[in-house]
């Protein structure tokens, strides 16, 4: 239960799709001019993520990963089909989006009309494929957790687009320098919001020195860590050679 709660808050705030890894930026920038449309798209993204991530988890678990085909018989245990995951994941996503479109059109034409072209757009929203790829690379352990991950990262994306849409509605009345109007200021505000969201990083550790056991970090953080490590290594080596030189 605890890991569910942790994953939930982690995906919404700390590893927020938009602010931590820049996924789904295109539709985030294009559809965030009005709160109403932003809400519609955000809800659709939550739904599609909640369906595709668990589905792709099953695909990954029983078809793609190293040794996943063992259930077919021992002679298949050596296969590693993970290079096919891009094509299978995107096929699942495209199919699901098409299916959602058909179902929504059939049962709720009014919702279908209000979403309009945004529904098919979801198929090429990087946040959706990113959700499945992160699910794969972070090795999420169970179907329930995969569902949880899909829903909560969808909620994170929803929050982000809702916030920027509200800000953009207000900023129309502000005196922004002309060349910065529109896209430019949206980028900069997103950057500032990203800095704000980074402060959620201390949420699961309580901000204290005693860090809770952290399972996975975002790629960006990992990157940073590797960078730092490499820098430190280089620096250490340089320091050592420097000290050696002094000693000599």
């Amino acid at each position: 239960m605890l890991e569910h709660i942790e994953l939930f808050f982690r995906s919404i705030f700390i590893d927020n799709m938009v602010f931590a890894v820049f996924l789904g930026m295109c539709s985030y920038l294009a559809v965030s001019k009005k709160v109403a449309t932003a809400v519609g798209l955000g809800a659709a993204v939550i739904f599609v993520l909640a369906v595709t991530v668990p589905l792709n988890w099953l695909l990954d678990q029983y078809l793609l990963r190293d040794g996943a085909l063992a259930w077919l018989g021992p002679e298949y245990a050596d296969y590693n089909l993970s290079f096919l995951s891009f094509i299978l994941f995107i096929a699942t996503i495209a199919t699901m989006v098409q299916l959602v479109e058909i179902v929504v059109e059939k049962f709720s034409p009014s919702l279908y009309n209000s979403l309009g072209i945004f529904l098919p757009l979801i198929a090429v929203n990087c946040a959706i494929l990113g959700g499945s790829l992160f699910m794969q690379s972070r090795e999420i352990a169970s179907l329930g957790l995969a569902f949880n991950y899909g829903v909560s990262s969808g909620i994170g994306w929803f929050l982000a687009i809702l916030a920027i849409a509200a800000i953009r509605e207000k900023i129309r009345y502000s005196n922004v320098p002309a060349p910065l109007r529109g896209l430019g200021i949206t980028f900069i505000i997103t950057g500032l919001m990203g800095i704000g969201f980074q402060s959620f990083g201390g949420m699961l550790t309580g901000g204290g020195e005693e860090a809770a056991p952290v399972k996975e970090k975002t790629t960006a953080e990992k990157l940073e860590k590797v960078d730092k490590k490499e820098n430190n290594k280089e620096i250490d080596e340089k320091e050592i050679s420097y000290n050696d030189a002094i000693n000599k």
Partner: protein, 215 residues
């Protein structure tokens, strides 16, 4: 430009500045920003997109008359996914460390809006040679922004370019650091990329007033 007619040359030159895919068309931002903390990753990403978009545009353009319009999105996705798998496998084979750094972002070239955008807007309506030039032009425009952002973030953030220290050594205080300069850790964190792109847009639109939006 004796090789290309003026019209063809514009296909390549336009996206570099006045019709840049990132700053004007707002395409392909998704996977672009996260990997620009290092110049090397930016260059590899730009080359990968060049490959995928150049070939993909030609393939789609060749098939444009036989694709039923109802399933064209799925067809396009399959073409891109195939090309991206090639890129991914090549990277894993020849630059494993780098492929770890790029992690899921190579896969995300599939959903990079630049690619779908160019397929939809150009390749479905034009012949293969023009589509090829359009693909090259747009991915170069994308690469230019990526490299500018990567250059500044790596230079100001860690004082290196392609991993080589160019500003001196921050620990032993040589080079620029001797004058009291410090690395700006802010440039390394993800949100800095957005702000750098915002500034690029600002500069670009102050130079070309025609691009200014009215909110």
């Amino acid at each position: 430009m004796a090789l290309l007619s003026k019209k063809d040359a514009n296909l390549i030159l336009d996206p570099l500045a006045d019709n840049n895919p990132i700053t004007i068309q707002v395409l392909g931002i998704c996977s672009a920003l996260a990997i620009t903390a290092e110049l090397k990753a930016s260059v590899v990403m730009a080359i990968s997109v060049l490959f995928v978009l150049g070939i993909g545009n030609v393939v789609i353009s060749l098939m444009r008359n036989i694709i039923p319009s109802k399933i064209r999105i799925i067809v396009q996705l399959i073409v891109v996914a195939t090309l991206v798998i090639i890129v991914d496998q090549v990277l894993k084979a020849f630059a494993y460390e780098l492929s770890k750094t790029l992690s899921v972002f190579v896969g995300l070239i599939i959903t990079n809006c630049i690619i779908m955008g160019r397929f939809e807007a150009f390749a479905l309506a034009n012949g293969p040679w023009k589509s090829f030039l359009d693909g090259i032009g747009n991915s170069l425009g994308y690469g230019v922004i990526l490299i500018i952002v990567g250059f500044f973030r790596e230079l100001l953030g860690s004082g290196t370019l392609f991993g080589y220290p160019v500003l001196g050594n921050p620990i032993t205080k040589t080079g620029l650091y001797a004058t009291g300069y410090e690395n700006n850790g802010f440039m390394i964190i993800p949100p800095a990329a957005l702000i750098v792109v915002g500034i690029i847009i600002w500069i670009q639109r102050s130079r070309n007033k025609a691009l200014i939006e009215d909110n």
